[in-house]
Symmetry: C2
Subunit: 385 residues, 2 copies
């Protein structure tokens, strides 16, 4: 243990910076004396660290506490983490829509913007739509692009660790796209890319239906369902980044595809035709026999896919999201069927973040990256470039 | 950081003990000077720690190095971790057999013993058979029961963290059994209980087909398959300890059970009747049409279950074990089918530990517990009682 900090004074300085930043974030506006107490560091060390952090813009002096003023002598100087010193961005690339959300370094949301995109748009057009959506969001929020510290991006498909799309059947020209690299040209900060369902799981855990639950599976329900899982509070990506891509399961039994299952005419639905799907849900609600049969077939498939995930992973909670329409009708049958066939069924609930789940998870991904740099002693200089 | 060891001298002593033990294990027979160098601790500290560890029997003096003798002056004293100071035990409770393996504190195997048990034996009889098997193993190995530091036990079913069997359909009277507590009466050391497939995964990772692979699923093939998964090198138990219990998946589709699938007569096989299963495998090999059809049906089910695990978890490697008979015929079709339907299929291989996989994993579980105590600063006194 004696060797951990003994040999490298700059490492020690960085550890001390991280310790002080942690204490600042936890305590709102501590005084120097309070920081000395909460960190266990010496007063000169804390003073030195605060000076450095103030120079880099990460710490600002807070107004004096009125309580302090009543005491004798000069009121103690107080400090706070300057969360507005930088921003992070979360982006969802969808089949019909591009969405971006913006927050400061503490994760406080400062803006959100979405824009339609044609389902058949080329990769170049879709990338252009992402850039436009981000520019519009930054403009509306009055935030300079130069204050961005990290950008997270959520995309359908299997995403490699280097930000290349290994496979995506949902978006034209998407398979093989170097998505991270293409977007990095628009930003001077790190751009991190992740599967959309994985990010939705992260988002629901952060501020949605799964707060306080560390073992959660998020099912992005659709004609071809995807899923993301947190295990022990950490995103489980899988060895190839393909964990949760349960949609392929039906191929094994040579069973009908979901596009056929939800059809009321015998002709398959188009995989991305959400209005047609919403129509089937609505007709079923009105009692249309064919629509109810189609919905039943679809439900059996969904239950089977979710059961496979649950049996393999054994989560505490399953969060169902994705489609805006019809999902409330899916929840009860799903719960019933899981409870009937699985001895220890998990709780099942609807997404609390809805349409913003993926973008919010992308923002959390960016924020995690920033916090890792700030608090986990990985860099000497701020901001991150 | 300054607070980690600042306040508690006994904690510091324990950390130093752990650091020295680590260094001893890594370096075989280091001298005091070498220990001072490799630990970064002061010479008096290392001397004090070595003295304490020698008193507790964990460190012994090693013969002097002939190299040292050629140098001037008195040859340096050398020390080694005294792995024979204690032993750990791994036990598998099976439907037809009870098996125990024994090692010293370094994991070096010193004995193994197995004994048949009637499939229909009561829980009491099965527990008695475990005790008898362990007693016989200790006797043959010439190891005193008092030198046991920890016992690991592998059992079919869903095992709670407290060692109670939450559900086991394979063994009579097993569901609800306080297995850990019952066995603790026979030992004066910790007894840890875990699901059998989980332990087989741990064992193959330790010294079997999955060494060097941190993301692995072990499929305990049988009429009702179970599975264990390591994620990032760590056992994934699931929120309720039920992860990998994929056997229930077929219930959802109201499909035929495996007992029906493998039947050539229309009458279901008995779930635990391994000879009958072996007969079907053998007949299929001889070209019997009905047996081949039965085997095909069984294979499709196995492929589907393994695919569900693979799609959910995305491991680097799938290890197939369990049945002794017929599994080599399963491997190729399984590989083919997974490769046909899964974009990024994992490697698939047979268990390298065979019949000893579960007991070996149970031993590793016990050894992990001991090492945690020795090296992770959890206790002040040795041995663990």
């Amino acid at each position: 243990m004696g060797r951990l900090t003994g040999g490298d004074p700059s490492l020690l300085r960085r550890i001390n910076s991280a310790v002080v930043l942690h204490a600042l974030r936890d305590a709102q506006t501590p005084s120097l004396t309070e920081l000395v107490q909460s960190t266990g560091l010496s007063r000169p060390t804390v003073e030195g660290v605060i000076e450095g952090l103030t120079e880099s813009g990460l710490v600002v002096e807070a107004p004096a506490d009125p309580q302090d003023a009543r005491k004798q002598g000069r009121p103690a100087r107080r400090f706070r983490f300057h969360a507005e010193a930088g921003h992070v961005l979360g982006v969802e690339v969808g089949a019909h829509e591009v969405r971006a959300v913006l927050s400061d370094l503490s994760g406080r949301m400062v803006g959100s913007h979405a824009h339609e995109v044609a389902e058949k748009a080329s990769a170049d057009d879709r990338l252009e739509r992402i850039r436009g959506t981000v520019a519009e969001l930054l403009r509306r929020a009055g935030v300079a692009r130069s204050t961005l510290w990290a950008v997270g991006v959520g995309s359908p498909g299997i995403i490699q660790a280097d930000g290349v799309v290994r496979l995506s059947t949902a978006l034209p020209g998407w398979t093989g796209l170097a998505l991270g690299e293409r977007l990095r040209r628009s930003f001077r900060c790190p751009v991190l890319v992740e599967n959309d369902a994985n990010l939705a799981a992260v988002a629901e855990h952060w501020k949605g239906a799964a707060t306080g639950t560390d073992d959660v599976v998020f099912v992005l329900a659709g004609l071809s369902p995807g899923a993301g899982a947190l295990i022990g509070g950490r995103l489980h990506r899988g060895f190839m980044g393909a964990a949760g891509e349960i949609g392929a399961l039906h191929l094994l039994g040579r069973e009908a595809t979901p596009e056929h299952l939800l059809s009321t005419t015998g002709e398959p639905l188009h995989p991305l035709d959400e209005p047609a799907v919403a129509r089937v849900f609505a007709l079923a609600k009105e009692g249309d026999a064919q629509a109810r049969e189609a919905l039943d077939r679809f439900l059996r498939r969904l239950v089977h896919d979710v059961a496979a995930l649950v049996l393999a992973i054994d989560p505490e909670l399953v969060v169902v999201g994705g489609w805006a329409a019809g999902l409330d009708g899916v929840l009860e049958p799903l719960r019933e069927q899981l409870a009937r066939h699985i001895l220890l069924p998990p709780k099942v609930t609807l997404s609390a973040l809805g349409q913003e789940a993926v973008a919010t998870g992308a923002l959390r991904l960016a924020l995690d990256h920033v916090e890792e740099q700030l608090f986990a002693v990985a860099r000497t200089s701020f901001p991150l470039r």
